[in-house]
Symmetry: C2
């Protein structure tokens, strides 16, 4: 669940009154997302017959306030460039990022669609194309945010979990140390880079039937390698519930991407190591959350071992052909 903050009626009414969206018609806490408090807000513009839907987000402690202008600015930039994503709504004074119940807060537009609980291969093709479109649209975004969950960040997480990793699986601590060393040595630097989503899991991608209707949750977005974003999606979209790799989904994802933005040969060559690194990134954050979630917390932590198995696949994959890419070794 993701409603950490209760908002009092009068506070909420005052907050919404700063916007030109009408009167509150309804508000419901939404059980999606784990970092922030999200509410479906319906507002009735004066004289309108039907209310409009919005998402009201209160930014909780895992989001650094200093990063919020980047996230809000990015969504505005992408929406202006024609990407279907939540668009921050500015209040009458022109300001989109405000305060509610003592927390930073913003209202964004509501996107139609539903995220796929069971991913279909053709949805991977649409995802690939949308991801490439996102990369192209972000190229002229002026702000910059470093990826704090790349190699240096993994090192911090590895140190923070080293003492207790073996509680999850014997040998896991040593496995993380050796993977980290191998990846730090091989991590590519000179690949095409720009703004990446960095967390484009199925629950952040909406579809209406087979049509991709929007991308959400830009709160891990940062500047990094485009192909690393693709590698995250390979991990998030192309494994079956039994952790077997579905090369048909991977082929769809990659060819969908290439129809909008083609890979350079260096990106293709780097894909296995990037996918391995992406697996380590989610392994480490899940391991950290697994070891550090408070007793009785609302959010059930996700099992880090899923990403050990994914990582092993990428390590054994060897070359880009394993992902369905045409590749002359």
């Amino acid at each position: 669940m993701a409603v950490y903050t209760e908002v009092a009626d009068d506070e909420l009414r005052d907050f919404v009154a700063a916007y030109d969206i009408g009167e509150i018609a309804a508000i419901k806490g939404i059980a999606e997302g784990v970092e922030n408090s999200n509410f479906l807000l319906q507002a009735l513009p004066s004289g309108a017959a039907a209310p409009m839907s919005y998402i009201l987000t209160l930014y909780e402690k895992r989001v650094r306030p200093g990063d919020l202008p980047f996230f809000i600015g990015l969504m505005e930039h992408l929406a202006a460039a024609g990407i279907s994503c939540p668009t921050p709504v500015r209040a009458r004074d022109g300001v989109a990022l405000r305060q509610l119940a003592g927390k930073p807060a913003a209202i964004v537009t509501f996107l139609s669609g539903m995220w796929p609980r069971r991913v279909q291969p053709r949805q991977c093709a649409a995802l690939g194309a949308a991801l490439a479109g996102l990369h192209l649209a972000g190229r002229d975004f002026a702000m910059h945010r470093a990826n704090d969950l790349s190699v240096d960040g993994w090192r911090h997480l590895a140190e923070a979990t080293a003492g207790r990793a073996d509680e999850v699986e014997p040998g896991l601590g040593r496995f993380v140390v050796s993977e980290l060393a191998a990846l730090a040595e091989r991590w590519p630097a000179d690949l095409p880079a720009g703004v990446i989503h960095a967390d484009l899991f199925p629950d952040n991608v909406f579809f209406l039937g087979d049509r991709l209707s929007g991308l959400i949750d830009f709160y891990f977005a940062c500047n990094d390698l485009f192909a690393y974003d693709v590698a995250i999606c390979l991990n998030a979209w192309c494994f079956e519930p039994d952790d077997s790799f579905n090369v048909t989904k991977a082929r769809q994802l990659l060819s969908g991407y290439r129809q909008v933005r083609d890979f350079t040969p260096a990106e293709v060559a780097a894909l296995p190591v990037l996918a391995r690194g992406a697996a380590l990134r989610f392994l480490l954050t899940r391991l950290y959350d697994w070891l550090n979630h408070p007793e009785g917390a609302f959010v059930r932590p996700k099992n880090p071992l899923e990403y050990v198995r994914k990582l092993r696949f990428h390590r054994s994959a060897g070359n880009p052909a394993a992902y369905g890419l045409d590749w002359a070794a």
Copy 2:
């Protein structure tokens, strides 16, 4: 939070296709209600410009399937009688109560409004009037459901918690036993009765400004004393966060009720004992949940001791004047 069941895309599409409400435009798990899984469902009727909102409920294990026809039938009956409450939507075959993901499921209409996080006295007046309206509208409802959370039900809960009640507060077990005995002896039988809501807490009552816009969550509704329903509301609406009793709110609630349906003298006289019983009912269900909630459960149990304090107020209240009622002792 209250999304216990994940529904696969194709299953959901097939489910919605049985209705005449159009294509799914969006679905979001809702973080309200604790007994069932609730989703906000938006559907776009063919040719319409804007989607319509509904609530999709999957009935989880705490609701007995055999009780569902009563709840669904009651909402239909009340809506037809002009009460603003969720109205079950029948599928094309005329059936409102269906199956989804192996669970009983229904789609009901979406009500505008927001529940009061900070109750205002004038909202208590509107609540009282709505409760009386509900009691009158339910009088010609043909179905019957016994209240399994009246005196006999309390006895079962008291027995089930007796061994561990003192873990919550020393002496609590003995307190429950003596209260149960006192209330069983004094519990009134011959008061006006009919369909009651039995759980009309603030989060089940929606307002648009000061106007009460609807009542929700009829899944404790049953046949019992009307004045007992009033007594539940006195507990749920008229205490401040520090558990002090706000007689202004009580007076508003009771006079709002009487403007629609007046109390008999016997109901007035019984109010203190009914309020004391209502406090014991919530004390016992909270105590049971407190002692029996699974480790790491999504729902944080509510503190039973709040109702010990409320019960003590009612026991000391002595006569109906304590609730702001004119009363010649």
